[in-house]
Amino acid sequence: MNVVSLEEEVRLALQKVIDPETSLSVMRMDLIHNIEVTPDGSVSLVFRPSSPMCPMAYSLGNSIKKAVESVRGTSSVEIHVENFNGAAHLESLLRSCERADRKRED
């Protein structure tokens, strides 16, 4: 899959991640920014929760990661979290999920 198609597929997958408070997708809520895709299938994006104290940020971050990972052709997903008090913690949790998943596969 080429980079443009993969990015399009990633956007479509993210349209299905719904915030339970507003019932809108994270894309419509403008919580996802700077989606970047490389030819080897690495995807990076910025996740900006709706407020620095967003109680759903952890759950949404996990759903976003899983949605992008589910897209065929994706080799890795890197999520940068901005505008959130626990940004560094959430980023590290999302990275550790990836390590745990790999361990299970091995």
Binding site: S23, S50, S51
Partner: protein, 291 residues
């Protein structure tokens, strides 16, 4: 981008009237009417709806009459009296708590998404407006407020607007909490009555809990100068600035009857007071942005 929220504590203090005046005076902004239980900013800003969607924020119980054996367990346990003698769910009474769903021995009850209201993106005579209307008796107004605020932010980013003016809800409940969380500044509009004083205190405590900069406006201050003084003393003790006083002015009512804001209708005591308050507020917002 700054998000300024106007709340009141007590209802009927002039919160929406003041918001509409600010909307007229502010240069480049998006408006959000977050008083979704009784939205009325649209009356003054005359919106033309560009986009409309359903809001489904809660659940309602539905009984499958083919499976129901009329044992009465659900009727007995429902705290809202929502299940009739004929074992149908009264939609206005059902809170969607799901107890009946869990206790039904025949699994005859399901929980379905309820249509609670509608939300809109409009263009108004004072700029873009995101607003909503919760249907009568419906719950989950906090969720709808979160949606309206979010879509106002999305619109402000798309149109490069530096300010979002939010007309919040009265009280200190869920829709108010949802209106103020994460905002940049909260203005509490109060009036010199005992309930105005009491409810302003509660609103100040709420905003303080979220560590949001706040200020107070005293509307119709001259109907009771003694309580006005008490309001100012209470605000000072709480470290909240009083932005200004608006005098009682029949011109406000005359303007409202015309579906206009008093600041649009030429000089009057209230219009002068509101213009001065807006200047003070703009200065405070710029200073807070610089900090």
């Amino acid at each position: 981008m700054k998000e300024l929220v106007i709340i009141s504590g007590k209802g009927g203090t002039g919160k929406t009237t003041v918001t509409a005046c600010f909307a007229y005076l502010a240069k480049d902004k998006v408006l959000a009417d977050c008083d979704v239980d009784a939205a009325d900013l649209h009356i003054l800003v005359h919106p033309k709806i560009l986009h409309e969607e359903e809001f489904r924020g809660g659940l309602k119980a539905v009984i499958d009459s083919d499976k129901c054996v009329k044992c009465g367990t659900c009727r007995e346990i429902c705290r809202f009296g929502a299940i009739s003698e004929g074992f149908t769910v009264t939609q206005l009474s059902c809170e969607g708590c799901g107890v009946c769903f869990h206790v039904c021995p025949e699994q005859a009850i399901s929980l379905e998404q309820a249509l609670n209201g509608r939300w809109f993106v409009s263009v108004s005579r004072f700029g873009p407006l995101v607003h909503a209307a919760l249907f009568p008796g419906e719950e989950n107004s906090g969720k709808l407020v979160a949606l309206v605020r979010n879509q106002a932010k999305v619109l402000a980013r798309q149109q490069d607007k530096p300010l979002i003016l939010v007309d919040g809800a009265p009280g200190v409940g869920c829709p108010v909490i949802s209106s103020v969380t994460g905002s940049d500044h909260v203005v509490i509009v109060t009036e010199p009555t005992l309930s105005g004083l009491h409810d302003m205190d509660r609103a100040m405590q709420l905003v303080k809990g979220f560590r949001i900069p706040a200020s107070v406006i005293i509307n119709k201050w001259d109907i009771n100068a003694e309580i006005t003084q008490q309001i100012e003393e209470l605000a000072a003790r709480s470290g909240v600035k009083v932005l200004g006083r608006i005098p009682y002015d029949p011109q406000v009512i005359a303007a409202l009857v015309q579906r206009r804001c008093v600041v649009e209708n030429g000089p009057s005591p209230a219009a002068t007071g509101i213009r001065e308050i807006w200047q003070n507020l703009e200065t405070d917002l710029s200073m807070e942005a610089g900090q």
